[in-house]
Amino acid sequence: MMSVHANGAHTKIGPPVIVGPGASALRRFAFVFVLASLVAMAPAGAQELSRAQSRAILERVDALVTYPGEDFSAEYTVTEIRPGESPSRTVFVLFRRDAAASYTILIQEPTQDRGKGYLRIDDNLWLYDPVARRFTVVSASDRFENTGARNSDFNRSTLADDYRITGSDREQLGAYSTRVYDLEAIHDNVTFPIRRIWIDQNDLVRKVEDYSLARRHMRTTAIPNYQELGDRYVPTRIVIQDELRGREIDGQFRNQRTMIEVARPSFQEVPDMVFTRTFLERVGD
């Protein structure tokens, strides 16, 4: 492990593929308790999980990557890899305030999109176009800048509020011993109504498969790297594989992929005005 000081916070940067344990003793105890309850109450599998148990598991997963007490900001680089074409790169700064379910995205690259921004407040999401000087209402489930990422991917994790567990299993995922949960949306305001998530021994999501209502596999997300910042985790490398888009190259089908790299994460306070439309207008101009 290597320790550095980033934005005033004591930061531990983990090795590329694995994150060391960093959860508090209390959370560890809670996790053991939940697991023990599962073993005791539902030996046949998670179909037997009560809504409360299902919520407890997902809340724990959410808690590791949600920061209700602080503001979060980071520099994101989204690289879209279309087989047979040159990769395209989008760089933006994300400001997130989980307590208010808000985020602001300011696009830095490509140059022609500089000044473009997104503002999310509760369930409302706007896209600001600095050329037209106009805000457009967009959906959280829309593709982000025509990549494999969706606008909802940059929001705080809300698995417990959005889904319930309908099945579970165990699976070895590379170096990780994971629990696999089948999720079904409990309301309609989600991007994908059916998901499958792989949770490692530290309760970090390592893989997600997203399905349509008709159970069509739409995309797979892998999260190989997390950065541990105190008792919080920030996913620093996310790879999204589009299961429907791709090209056959040299006789082999290659999926379109989106790589998201997160740099310089910070939990420093962000001024309130960053989460306003005025801010996007001013910065965009």
Partner: protein, 439 residues
């Protein structure tokens, strides 16, 4: 007698008239080509639009939320049948009628095939059996309208097929955000590929029940019902819209007045209403942005034609002034032999009439031949204009009888107007002075 004399004079002086005749033929040819093209473009765009918008007249049910829903399609069907049945006011023989479910979303309709993808503007749920006569008018490059009740079928355009690299019989995956906001997908077999690469081409046609399932709507949901009118009834569109509205009202359904332009249509969809109301929208209302473009082209073309006609009138006038001056002695002789002033004027006007008629016959023939030849042998490169208005790169044209009549009236009128002053002068010639006239 005077007609024969005028004809003989016309034939004898044909050499003198040849420049005028050529000018007249050219102007009539141009008028025929321009009018035929404009009418053809309008016809082609209406054909495309009527398939896109559920018919030439579309019955919508507005509740004020911007969308349309028809909760009582049986009552609307009775109204449509009543419109078609023999009626003392108006008997409208319909080409077909439609009962559709529609899904419109610029961002969230995606089609996938073998890793390739494309977006659609609109998905339309139709009943193949009902709309076969209209959908059969598509220029299919592969396949055709699916069998009645085929819920696995999808019709896509050549533009979509090219983007996806998909062929007839292959499966495409359609992904949308359902009415409940959830991502849903369905797999459908390509049963037909129609030739279209304008924005009308970014429309997929499914069976109504299949689309409703994909949308997570009730299987019986109907959003729009429409009627396809026979060719040549576009002029009566507004009158038929009023009749259809009356028929709907007879079914005890609340109605609003027919909507004939785009602004009224948009306003009508969003206007607050106490209850769901039914109304009729014409395809012209939905097309007003495109027809505005055609109107602008028509105005420019009309201005150019008017200029040419003006030049022809001046030319005819000058030529006839010369003719009258050269034939002053002849006029004097005829007047001395007892020809009345009115008949003298008629003689020259008849010659002008023969000139006009000859110009119309030759010009119309040339114009129609030009249109037919262009349409048959010239394939235009695809661009924003040709993909929207043309069919497979071919020029669409139409020349109804009233069009030929209008062109003939204009050309002959110009010829007569040009000759009128000279004819009156000829009638006023004093026979004594005329007999002493020297060239």
């Amino acid at each position: 007698m005077i007609v024969t004399a005028a004809w003989r004079n016309f034939v004898r002086n044909l050499k003198r008239y040849r420049v005028l005749l050529v000018a007249l033929v050219l102007i009539v040819t141009a008028l025929t080509a321009v009018l035929g093209t404009l009418l053809g473009l309008e016809n082609a765009i209406r054909e495309k639009a009527s398939r896109y918008f559920a018919g030439d007249l579309v019955v919508l049910g507005f509740a004020g939320n911007g969308g349309s829903l028809i909760p009582d399609p049986e009552a609307v069907e009775r109204a449509i049948n009543a419109l078609e049945a023999a009626d003392t006011d108006r008997d409208v023989p319909l080409r077909a009628w439609s009962r559709r479910s529609t899904y419109y979303d610029l961002q969230n309709i995606e089609l996938f095939f073998a890793g390739y993808y494309t977006r659609q503007r609109r998905l339309v749920g139709v009943e193949w059996a009902l709309e076969r006569p209209a959908l059969g008018q598509f220029n299919f490059v592969q396949g055709g309208v699916p069998e009645d009740g085929d819920e696995e079928a999808i019709l896509i355009s050549t533009a979509t097929a090219r983007d996806l690299g998909v062929a007839l019989g292959e499966p495409v995956l359609v992904s949308i955000r359902s009415d409940r906001g959830r991502t849903n997908t369905g797999e459908y077999l390509v049963r037909g590929i129609y030739s279209e690469s304008s924005f009308f081409g970014y429309t997929g046609y499914l069976h109504r029940r299949a689309l409703n399932r994909l949308r997570e709507a009730e299987e019986t949901t109907v959003n729009e019902m429409g009627i396809y009118l026979p060719a040549g009834t576009a002029e009566a569109e507004q009158a038929i819209a009023h009749t259809l509205t009356a028929r709907i009202a007879e079914q005890d359904l609340p109605t609003f007045d027919p909507l004939f332009d785009r602004d009224a249509y948009v306003e009508g969809a969003r206007a607050a209403r106490e209850q769901l109301e039914y109304g009729v929208v014409t395809v012209g209302a939905q097309l007003s942005e495109i027809t505005d473009l055609l109107d602008a082209i028509t105005i420019i073309a009309a201005a150019i034609m008017a200029l040419f006609l003006g030049i022809v009138v001046v030319g005819v006038s000058n030529t006839w002034t010369m003719v009258v001056w050269e034939r002053t002695r002849e006029i004097g002789t005829l007047r001395a032999l007892g020809m009345q002033r009115a008949r003298t004027a008629s003689l020259f006007l008849l010659e002008a009439l023969f000139l006009g008629v000859s110009g119309v016959i030759l010009g119309c023939t040339l114009g129609l031949a030009l249109l037919a030849g262009l349409s048959q042998w010239v394939e235009f490169e695809p661009n924003a204009f040709t993909t929207l208005f043309f069919t497979r790169g071919r020029l669409p044209w139409r020349m109804p009888f009233w069009g030929v009549g209008a062109i003939a009236a204009l050309a002959i009128g110009a010829s007569l107007f040009g000759a009128f002053r000279a004819a009156v002068r000829a009638s006023l010639v004093d026979p004594v002075e005329a007999l002493r006239h020297e060239k």
